[in-house]
Symmetry: C2
Subunit: 142 residues, 2 copies
């Protein structure tokens, strides 16, 4: 279940988060630290997971995400970021100049946004099952 | 941080979830099993947590919620619910006749709705911090 045409279900979202761990957050942080504004980030592929997740189960994806996120958080700690480094600038292929600090804040909000999406999709499976309580549960129509 | 006047922050929400574990879901399930439609549920107090959570930390509330939820899930398992029991009816003070199955589905969606609310509130703390990525993050304006 998803939220209509061209929207994602929790399996798609998990694949998308995995692809972010592999190609977005830490690789872009390294790009900023190593090349600054001189080299633009690789554009992020929003459809890569449809191919990459094929034949995998939700349990497989959860285990893969957990492993990658743990490794990336260790990598983040090893970067020993200082307030000065956090202000370092990079080049986004569409948005232009961004800072390392903005990239890391976006990593956090990106997670939160997709958690919000997952709970909306999960709730809608219970739309009929909740009966008259439907009116008390605004997430069912968000 | 919350979402405007008369809305809740994550601390309030956690207190609300705790009060639900104590007075709503399992107590109402028991009421249906024991009294059917003959006795209406106690109305749920949506403001109880403002007093009850006073002087507690978020960590205290998390520990309290975890303990209560675990106990209630064990209690739920002990009820040995059958398809027939799930169709048993009770009396909601405002909504009228509801089934045990509807009550338990609502317990699930109620959790999901408040998780969605918590991630919306948490994200908004990063609205400025994400810089130009703001436009790519719809949760910031949900």
């Amino acid at each position: 279940m998803n939220e209509g045409p061209d929207t994602w279900n929790p399996f798609d979202i998990l694949g998308h988060l995995i692809h972010g761990e592999e190609t977005d957050w830490i690789p872009r942080a390294r790009m900023i630290l190593e090349h600054g504004e001189a080299r633009a980030f690789e554009p992020f592929d929003r459809f890569a997971m449809f191919e990459k997740s094929k034949g995998k189960s939700l349990t497989d994806l959860l285990a893969e995400f957990t492993r990658l996120r743990e490794a990336n958080l260790q990598e983040l700690a090893r970067l020993n970021l200082t307030p000065k480094l956090l202000e370092k600038r990079g080049q986004h292929p569409e948005l232009g100049v961004v800072t390392l600090s903005q990239l890391l804040s976006t990593w956090v909000v990106h997670d939160l946004g997709h958690i919000g999406q997952i709970v909306r999709v999960m709730s809608k499976q219970y739309k009929v099952a909740v009966g008259p309580w439907q009116d008390y549960l605004p997430i069912l129509t968000r």
